[in-house]
């Protein structure tokens, strides 16, 4: 048994005081320091992002290259789950040196193998270039994106083969379960989780230990535990990545939860849109059964549990716990009024605890390292770390884990590497369709449950979309509202009818037909929907429009009064023009224009017929990015 303190070294960043001030940011340890073996290993990332860029072919190519050198038994070629740096995919890491290759092509495989095994030349063009200095960085541990993170929930992501339970065990997996079952009573487990201050990472931030305690107190011998992996927020993918990269930590958390409340059946409710995650969880469950972590008499105790996977059928509202329960029961996934809360009456009317993937993945660490350690990270009321899916107009998009209370600016500028193309940051959207857009002036806001809620946004499940000056806030509000409108289950009128009207008003404004009184109408109706809706979907759906009105009102006014879209996004309010002095007459735009609105002989400035133009931006894109075109097309409002 490995009981030394080293195994969780990567999450050891002592980081923060109780009041949220960062005293010391201990960097994430490099791969080399935490490698599972000293044997040379080529690890290919097989998360969804990298798989879609053909990473399995790279794996095969690496295997072939190693075979050709006749080193098949001395060198290992394997794969891991998501490294979180999806933008640089496909990623290959070579251990134990901890060399990080990005944007790898199967053709590069022989070169990489030769560089490490056959005394070949290093391949610096596959190293990650520093975003500012362009200096090639060979080592994982030197990349700022990783250096500035504090990985607790993502502790094993990208480090282990997610389809091999022994990899997870070698990094302390299932030690917490062993400790809980052999040394702790269920009450002690709950007390420890309560003391840690862990709050639900699904968005609402309900104290996890309290939820468990309520369920434990309810009489009844039939109880259920559910892992909520119905990650429906557009722009959020951390639950998917965790399940793909480290399913055992989530399963271990779920088993500990079941032990604490006395449940004998569990479910992992995962979106069907995540086929790889579903497959890896199934494999992990099978392996856990084989090892005696699941099934009858777990680890020799009198505790029994089995866990099944339930695939969600594509309904955003099923992320809401009562809707999720209805869905497992085989019904339409519609929420019901609470109380009674699921902890009292849930699945098949039995007490049920539902926790998010990230909440459950935090549990084993709390048990092994203790509540005090966990509570030392984060702020007064938000303990631990937060995982964000950082996307949008940002240099380093991917999965980011930082201590609660870290200011937005350090997530965006240190970890995220800032805004590309010399653009200015305009807004940061957190919390997906339930959250809001925060302006650049609020970048020093610490990210935790309460600060974000106060600012009119929310933590949500952790999407963080960065927007630059080319993003129109009215259009973004319309996008989120149309999303929630189509995902509304239709049960209660404020949500079903109210959001539809909000979308209509926003459409009207985007189309340049808005009137001044529409802004007031929007606000009034949004507050009505917020107050009157049955579940969190309706109660939070107006947040994007309310926050946009609060911080970006001038943009709404520009649309309504001046009939302009300052970010030149709303099609009805923009026009396209060709600058004759810059047009090289290359005819690229003529070729791509779907409506033949652009005409002109070769080598002479072209003409654009605005009556035919549908403003699809095809010409703009080719003109801007094609080497021989002159960047001559401008969009104006």
């Amino acid at each position: 048994m490995r009981t030394d303190g080293r195994k969780l070294a990567t999450c050891a960043g002592s980081g923060q005081n109780g009041d949220g001030t960062v005293t010391e940011s201990r960097p994430l340890l490099g791969v080399s320091e935490t490698a599972l073996t000293d044997k040379m290993t080529f690890l290919v990332c097989e998360g969804t992002g990298c798989v879609s860029s053909k990473s399995p072919e790279i794996l095969t190519a690496l295997q072939e290259a190693v075979e050709q050198l006749g080193l098949g038994n001395k060198v290992e070629v394997g794969f891991t789950g998501c490294h979180g740096f999806c933008q640089q995919g496909p990623i290959v890491v070579v251990e134990p040196e901890g060399i990080f290759y990005r944007h790898v092509n199967p053709k590069d495989a022989p070169k990489i193998v030769a560089a490490h095994l056959a005394g070949g030349e290093p391949v610096p063009y596959l190293y990650y270039p520093h975003p500012a200095t362009k200096e090639a960085i060979p080592h994982y541990r030197d990349i700022v994106f990783y250096k500035e993170q504090q990985r607790v929930i993502l502790r094993n992501c990208g480090r282990i083969n997610p389809e091999r339970i022994s990899d997870c065990e070698a990094r302390g997996g299932y030690d917490a379960l062993r400790k809980a079952i052999s040394q702790m009573t269920p009450e002690e487990v709950i007390a420890e989780v309560r003391r840690s201050g862990l709050r639900g990472r699904g968005g609402a931030g309900f104290p996890t230990g309290v939820k468990w305690d309520i369920c434990r107190q309810v009489a009844g011998d039939e109880k259920y535990v559910i892992c909520n992996a119905d990650e429906g927020d557009p722009g959020a993918f951390m639950d998917r990545s965790i399940l793909e990269a480290d399913p055992h930590s989530v399963i271990e958390g779920l088993i500990i939860l079941a032990y604490a409340i006395g449940a004998s059946q569990g479910f992992v409710y995962c979106r069907a849109e995540y086929p790889l995650a579903v497959r890896r969880v199934r494999i992990a469950l099978q392996q856990a059964r084989g090892k005696g972590y699941l099934g009858r008499a777990i680890l020799g105790s009198d505790f029994h549990l089995d866990i099944d996977v339930f695939e969600g059928a594509g309904a955003f509202v099923c992320g809401e716990e009562t809707a999720l329960i209805a869905s497992i029961e085989g019904k339409r996934g519609m929420p019901r009024t609470r109380p009674p809360f699921p902890a009292v009456r849930g699945l098949w009317d039995k007490p049920t605890v539902i926790n998010n993937v990230k909440t459950l993945a935090s549990v084993p660490v709390i048990i092994t390292r203790g509540a005090d350690w966990f509570a030392s990270i984060g702020t007064k009321n938000s303990k631990g770390t937060a995982v964000f899916a950082l996307t949008g107009k940002i240099a380093n998009s991917g999965l980011v884990e930082v201590a609660m209370g870290t200011p937005l600016s350090s997530i965006i500028y240190s970890v995220g590497g800032g805004i590309p193309n010399k653009k200015k940051l305009k807004a940061v959207q957190t919390g997906g369709p339930s959250g809001g857009c925060l302006p650049a002036s609020m970048l020093e806001l610490p990210v935790d449950f309460d600060s974000l809620a106060e600012a009119g946004s929310m933590m949500g499940s952790g999407g963080l979309v960065v927007m630059d000056e080319d993003t129109c806030m009215v259009d973004v509000a319309r996008f989120f509202l149309s999303f929630t409108q189509s995902e509304s289950c239709g049960k209660c009128a404020p949500c079903r009818v109210g959001i539809r009207h909000l979308v209509n008003l926003l459409e009207k404004i985007c189309n340049g037909k808005g009137e001044e009184e529409d802004l007031e109408k929007l606000e009034r109706l949004a507050i009505m929907v917020k107050k009157g809706s049955l579940c969190a979907l309706g109660q939070t759906a107006p947040n994007p429009v309310l926050s946009a009105l609060r911080y970006f009102r001038s943009e709404f006014v520009a649309h309504v009064v001046d009939k302009r879209c300052p970010a030149v996004v709303c099609r009805e309010l923009v026009t396209f023009r060709i600058l004759p002095e810059r047009c090289t007459g290359c005819q690229r735009c003529v070729a791509v224009c779907p409506t033949k609105a652009i005409k002109g002989p070769r080598s002479q400035p072209h003409n654009l017929d605005r009556s035919k133009c549908i403003k699809c931006r095809s010409c703009y894109e080719v003109c801007r990015f094609d080497a021989i075109a002159g960047d001559a097309i401008v969009i104006e409002s």
Partner: protein, 185 residues
């Protein structure tokens, strides 16, 4: 078809309780590509749930289809990251070119279109999936080309290598970084 009603094999996998409805529908769709009316009738008798109720449940969830999918099933991701970089263009191209709207299949059965909320590959935005193959960092021009290839070949082509990868072959890392950043706008 495996037997007289086409779901016999699936019956073996479940206990046949009403709570099995959603997984049963998923298995039937996996097998047939969509939910045929006669399959729904068989499920109704087997699980003792009315056909109305089954339709009620099936239409609630975005995953279920009631028409056979096209030979090339195109999924356009409409997540936040994809939206801000112009995912709507792809839906428009399909409407203009093939008169195809989300949820429909073309008359010749070649193409069908689905809008999906988020595929979770936001770093590759905008994303289009053709028959489970992910095409990342699309734009209207690349998409139109992809569509043309699909029309003529019948089989989806290999997705184009990323700009970055092509340039690695050229060994021009510095120029590649500039161009990649531009293309990611």
């Amino acid at each position: 078809m495996t037997s007289h009603d086409g779901i016999s094999a699936i019956r073996q996998e479940f206990k046949g309780e009403p709570k099995d409805l959603v997984p049963v529908l998923q298995r039937v769709q996996e097998q047939d590509g969509y939910l045929r009316p006669d399959a729904i009738r068989s499920i109704s008798r087997w699980l003792k749930i009315s056909e109305n109720e089954i339709f009620g449940v099936a239409t609630f969830y975005a995953q279920f289809r009631f028409h056979p999918p096209g030979k090339h099933n195109i999924k356009v991701c409409m997540g936040t990251a994809c939206h801000v970089v112009g995912a709507r263009n792809f839906v428009e191209v399909l409407k203009a070119d093939l008169n195809l709207s989300p949820g429909e299949t073309t008359r010749d059965g070649k193409f069908s279109l689905e809008r999906v909320a988020c595929l979770g590959c936001c770093a590759l935005a905008p994303v289009v999936v053709v028959n489970d193959e992910v095409h990342g960092r699309m734009n209207r021009v690349k998409f139109t080309e992809l569509l043309e290839t699909l029309k003529h070949t019948g089989e989806p082509p290999e997705s184009e290598p990323d700009d970055g990868q092509q340039e690695h072959a050229d060994r021009r890392p510095e120029a590649s970084d500039v161009r990649r950043e531009r293309s990611e706008r």
